[in-house]
């Protein structure tokens, strides 16, 4: 890895060094820790200016590939770094608000603290790895599934008897599928019967002269009732007890009683439902 040595634009040299990196950085802290604490870099070669340039160069190289959330993290840190660098470049404490300065220092100190914390846990992680490696040289008995797996896999054959298996086989191997059945149970049955309709007609027609079908169905709420009433009319006509006339096309139907007095309609087909 090329180290930013001596003169020349430090930013460019550092940018080149990142092109050589094969590792992937896990976020802005990762990048900063690497930038600042690289092995070959002498303490006195570390400068804010170079760090900031390196950080921005890394962002340029990689930013397109980062997802939005990670990019935001980078931007926040970059903003602080750029501010710090800008402040450095200012000739003197001219036109610098004390509040702004303090805020900037606060941000810097916060960033420093977070970097220290990140480094702490990074080193702790390495220690944990060593411990795990040492421990892995010693095996314990593992009888059956590890505990965490046992809970995951339900016993698929729980409660299944040989009879169930047999029944399943029969189902699978039987030839024809059951015939499709249109289930209308959910349709609310409107109980309208032909007999009732006929009774009603028998009550009204004899001796009443011609009545329009419209009059005969006045006050009926559902269409099905009207239909059944019509069927009743047809049935009575079939039996010769009434006459139906229609003077005008699409005009009202006139229903007239022609049966003998006291005649009763024959048994008729009943329509269920």
């Amino acid at each position: 890895m090329v180290c930013g040595a001596g003169g020349g634009p430090a930013g460019i040299v550092l940018a080149v060094s990142y092109a050589v990196q094969t590792g992937v950085y896990e976020g802005p802290f990762d990048v900063l820790l690497h930038l600042i604490l690289r092995d070959e870099v002498d303490l006195y070669e570390i400068s804010l200016s170079r760090i900031v340039d390196g950080f921005l160069a890394y962002m340029d190289d990689v930013a397109a590939a980062l997802d939005l959330e990670v990019t935001t993290e980078f931007l926040v840190i970059a903003a602080t770094l750029v501010d710090l660098k800008a402040r450095r470049l200012l000739p003197g404490p001219v036109d610098v608000e004390v509040d702004e300065e303090l805020a900037l220092f606060e941000q810097r100190d916060l960033l420093l603290a977070r970097l220290i914390e990140a480094k702490t846990f990074r080193d702790a992680g390495k220690a944990l790895e060593h411990m795990a490696q040492a421990a892995s040289r010693s095996w314990a008995r593992t009888a059956g599934l590890e505990e965490r797996f046992v809970a995951l896999a339900p016993d698929l054959l729980a409660g299944v008897s040989p009879a169930d298996l047999h029944a399943a086989w029969v189902r699978v191997s039987s030839p024809a599928p059951p015939p499709p059945r249109v289930v209308l149970d959910h349709v609310a049955p409107i109980r309208v019967s032909m007999e009732e309709a006929v009774d009603d007609l028998m009550g009204r027609l004899p001796g009443a002269g011609p009545l329009t079908f419209r009059a005969l169905t006045e006050g009926l709420a559902d269409r099905i009732e009207v239909i059944v009433r019509f069927l009743a009319v047809l049935e009575l006509y079939k039996q010769g007890l009434i006459e139906i006339g229609q003077a005008v096309t699409f005009g009202d139907l006139e229903v007239s009683w022609v049966g003998q007095a006291g005649s009763v309609p024959d048994e008729m087909d009943s329509y269920d439902g």
Partner: protein, 188 residues
């Protein structure tokens, strides 16, 4: 050779496939847990002296027989399922954060690492090293995570108190100075 109780301990531990808590052994043998601990320590020492190919260790809160680390090469060839895959540096870092800061939420882990922690936490969860241990009482009721028993087993540690203190890992003055310099905090 040894007393009946010592042999009973050996027999039970031989059959167990996960660390056996001394309280359980105490119940089985009708002894006090303290006496059980004593016995186990004696047994462990005896195996050591006799240079056996196995060791009796205290791990994840219980006692368990394990193969002697010196013989790892042989056991490796025998154990067909191989080693669990190694964890990435990111996963190790995250695991360290959970181990030392538990109970901790995913958001808190993300703040420390400076990156989103969801994917890594999911991996660690799936591997069984971290688990849900509660809920944050504050708004949002964020899930809190902690390390699992499997984590202890994997590290060969008896309990969390056996982890090296976090202070051991705080960077020394030279590193801090370097970081200060890097952020331009060494002048003002």
């Amino acid at each position: 050779m040894a007393s009946e109780t010592a042999r009973a301990v050996e027999a039970v531990l031989m059959v167990a496939d996960e660390p056996v808590e001394p309280q359980l052994l105490a119940q089985l043998l009708e002894l006090s847990p303290a006496r059980v601990e004593e016995l186990c320590e004696e047994l462990a020492a005896a195996h050591e002296t006799e240079d056996r190919g196995f060791v009796l260790v205290r791990v994840a809160g219980g006692w368990r027989f394990q193969s002697h680390p010196d013989l790892a090469a042989y056991v490796e060839r025998f154990v067909l399922d191989g080693q669990p895959a190694r964890l990435s540096p990111a996963a190790l870092e995250t695991l360290a954060i959970v181990a030392y800061k538990q109970p901790v939420s995913r958001a808190q882990v993300a703040v420390i690492r400076g990156v989103n922690a969801d994917a890594v936490m999911r991996t660690l969860s799936q591997r069984g090293y971290v688990e849900e241990v509660g809920r944050d009482p504050g708004p949002g009721q964020a899930v809190l995570y902690g390390t699992s028993r499997l984590f202890l087993e994997r590290l060969g540690v008896d309990s969390l108190t056996d982890l090296p203190p976090l202070g051991d890992f705080v960077p020394g003055p030279d590193v801090v100075e370097a970081l200060e310099r890097g952020l331009g905090a060494d002048d003002t």
